[in-house]
């Protein structure tokens, strides 16, 4: 037995939840689909996955860390209070659920927990949404992800066509469902089978093989067409590198952190000018090794979820599935 609701009734349910929680939903805003705070007449984007992944909910592109004021010799540092409201995030696809797991590994483990991330993460209740038809750029199953079961979800929602079905997984998730339990019908529902994938990648043995491929000539070949922009990293649900910068106005300022990308020159250049990764080859190699070897070495999982966003958005079609293929063939 599952709790079902007509898709047409979904706004009503979200409306109800929004009274209690901050509710984030996939929406089309100014031509780009992304997670946005629910409001009336918001154009929901439930047909396919959103262009901008949910990572900016936990790790915003720009985030204020603390304020400061410096005058003559004195200095004041003031922390910025965080929002405290619980947030319900509806409609996270399996690939993006996995990406949150990757981000959790980075921000919450290995001796230090990142307080900015942890705060937002702790306040979040995740409703995963199953996929029925993959987009032409999807390859999550190749990355070992079940497109119909979101890892780490508090609630799993299933797309049944006309209806949505909900299954409470954690206690927190169950609590959310209880708030709107009156809206559901209880019925047996068959989850539609997943469609065929257009894109695949075989990553078996790739992290191990890459251990001995640092000096391989494929990096020259792969990197040549790269433009060293950060479109891939900024649409990637797992890329998490950041910069810390000051925004100064006279004697006052605020320390911000913002997304950064290993494709940029200033990412690694040191004071004095030494540059450990001077060119396209070194940077592209670092990006793919990070995704396919370094991250697995450190956290025992790939840093790619097969969401396919970079495949779509790269201006030169530097396709990670193709890179994996080349690694396999090398």
């Amino acid at each position: 037995m599952m709790k079902t609701i007509l898709k047409a009734k979904l706004p009503e349910m979200l409306e109800q939840l929004a009274k209690e929680y901050k509710v984030l939903v996939p929406a089309k805003l100014e031509g780009v689909s992304r997670f946005a705070a629910y409001r009336e007449n918001l154009e929901l984007a439930l047909d396919e996955n959103v262009t901008m992944p949910p990572k900016d909910i936990f790790f915003p592109q720009t985030e204020e860390m603390y304020k400061f004021a410096a005058k003559d010799q004195s200095l004041e540092i003031e922390e910025i209070p965080q929002d405290e409201k619980l947030q319900v995030i509806f409609g996270v696809r399996s690939c993006d659920m996995k990406s949150i797991d990757c981000l959790d590994q980075v921000f919450l483990t290995k001796g230090f927990s990142d307080p900015f991330y942890q705060d937002k993460r702790d306040r979040s209740i995740l409703i995963a949404l199953s996929c029925v038809k993959p987009m032409e750029s999807c390859f999550c199953t190749s990355m070992g992800i079940d497109p119909q079961k979101g890892q780490g979800a508090d609630i799993q929602a299933y797309d049944l066509g006309e209806k949505l079905a909900f299954e409470g997984i954690t206690e927190r998730g169950q609590e959310v469902l209880n708030k709107v339990s009156g809206m559901f019908a209880e019925e047996d529902a068959a989850i539609p089978p997943m469609g065929e994938f257009n894109l695949t990648a075989n990553v078996e043995g790739v992290p191990e093989k890459l251990k001995n491929m640092f000096d391989h000539s494929i990096w020259d070949d792969i990197s040549r067409k790269c433009l060293n922009c950060s479109a891939c990293a900024y649409v990637c649900p797992t890329c998490h590198c950041f910069d810390i910068a000051s925004e100064v106005r006279g004697e006052d300022g605020v320390k911000i952190r913002c997304w950064d990308c290993c494709m940029f020159d200033e990412y690694t250049v040191m004071a004095g000018g030494h540059q450990p990764r001077p060119g396209k080859k070194e940077r592209v190699r670092n990006r793919f090794l990070h995704k396919l070897r370094y991250f697995p070495e450190r956290y025992n999982m790939l840093l790619c979820t097969g969401c396919g966003r970079c495949v779509v958005k790269c201006p030169v079609n530097l396709d990670i599935t193709n890179v994996i293929k080349k690694i396999k063939e090398a």
């Binding site: 720009t62 750029s137 040549r224 067409k225 479109a231 900024y234 910069d243 200033e266 030169v316 396709d319």
Partner: protein, 299 residues
């Protein structure tokens, strides 16, 4: 295989076998049927990767900047816009003419990738906006030419007046409407700098937006900083933009960047006389020289 693809492969093979160039830069088929990304061919046996179809959008001349300090020669396929980009880079002394072999391709105008993705393979696809706006579909400079030379002259003679109706539509708005329009566009910007990196007019060794010293640029992503980026970049490429439209195509957030660039092209023409970047390498840049009789609107 199209006739042009065949010709491309043949000439690429010939160039590599004769050793006229070490590498041939062309296009190959990408992940999807509507993608034809750049390809670098070093070996004669790899030439069959090369294709010419309706989606060979990437402006290949940009890659010549990477080869600036490279010893050997490179051969590159050029459409009209690629050849204008080549001229521009030559004019800025970013590349050396003798290190490049240019293979000209007459361009019939390419198809819109986004529409192709949306409508599917067997539909009637519109041309890309940048191609509808294009006034120089044929290469202006080349060492080899793969098309019919007579047709080349014919096309050159029928240069139509540029269409600025899209720019005019924005000009017709009220200041507040214009501001809202652009704010909405640039609020989407994720500052990935794909527009800059794909742009053949953006060839500065060190871009101001890579500056790390406090105060030079704001790293924060917000309306104000994004507009600062947009306007700064527009002014930086003013008079040098060759209207290849790559910035707009590369933009992952679909910001209509060409609407800014076209506005500048239009105004330069109106204010300082007709000027198309990358046509005449002897000509002076509109913002790189002046005329004592320039319009006097300041007093």
């Amino acid at each position: 295989m199209s006739e042009m693809t065949k010709k491309m492969q043949e000439i690429a093979r010939e160039i590599l076998v004769k050793g006229e160039a070490e590498v041939v830069i062309g296009w190959e088929k990408g992940t999807f049927w509507y993608l034809s990304p750049p390809a670098f061919i070093d070996k004669p046996e790899d030439v069959q990767r090369l294709v010419w179809d309706d989606f060979c959008h990437n402006n290949l001349s940009k890659y010549l900047v990477d080869l600036k300090n490279h010893e050997g020669k490179a051969a590159v396929f050029v459409k009209g816009c690629d050849s204008r980009a080549f001229n521009r880079l030559l004019q800025d002394k970013q590349i050396a003419r003798e290190k490049v072999v240019l293979i000209g391709i007459p361009c019939p105008g390419l198809l819109d990738q986004d529409k192709a993705k949306e409508l599917g393979k067997n539909s009637d696809l519109p041309k890309a906006q940048k191609c509808l706006d294009c006034q120089y579909p044929n290469p202006l400079v080349y060492d080899y030419y793969l098309g019919d030379k007579e047709a080349l002259n014919e096309v050159a003679a029928t240069k139509e007046a540029a269409d600025y109706s899209d720019v005019a539509a924005i000009e017709a708005m009220s200041p507040d409407e214009r501001y809202d329009f652009w704010t909405k566009q640039y609020d989407r910007c994720i500052r990935c700098y794909a527009c800059r990196n794909v742009c053949p007019a953006c060839s500065c060794r060190e871009c101001v937006f890579d500056q790390t010293r406090v105060g030079w640029i704001g790293k924060a992503n917000n309306s104000s900083e994004n507009q600062f980026f947009a306007l700064t970049r527009a002014m930086h490429v003013a008079g040098r933009c060759i209207e290849c439209g790559e910035c707009e195509r590369a933009c992952p957030m679909d910001i209509p960047i060409m609407l800014l660039n076209k506005k500048l092209v239009k105004d330069i023409n109106e204010l300082f006389g007709e000027y198309d970047a990358g046509i005449d390498i002897e000509g002076k840049l509109p913002l790189g020289h002046f005329d004592k009789n320039d319009p006097e609107e300041f007093m």
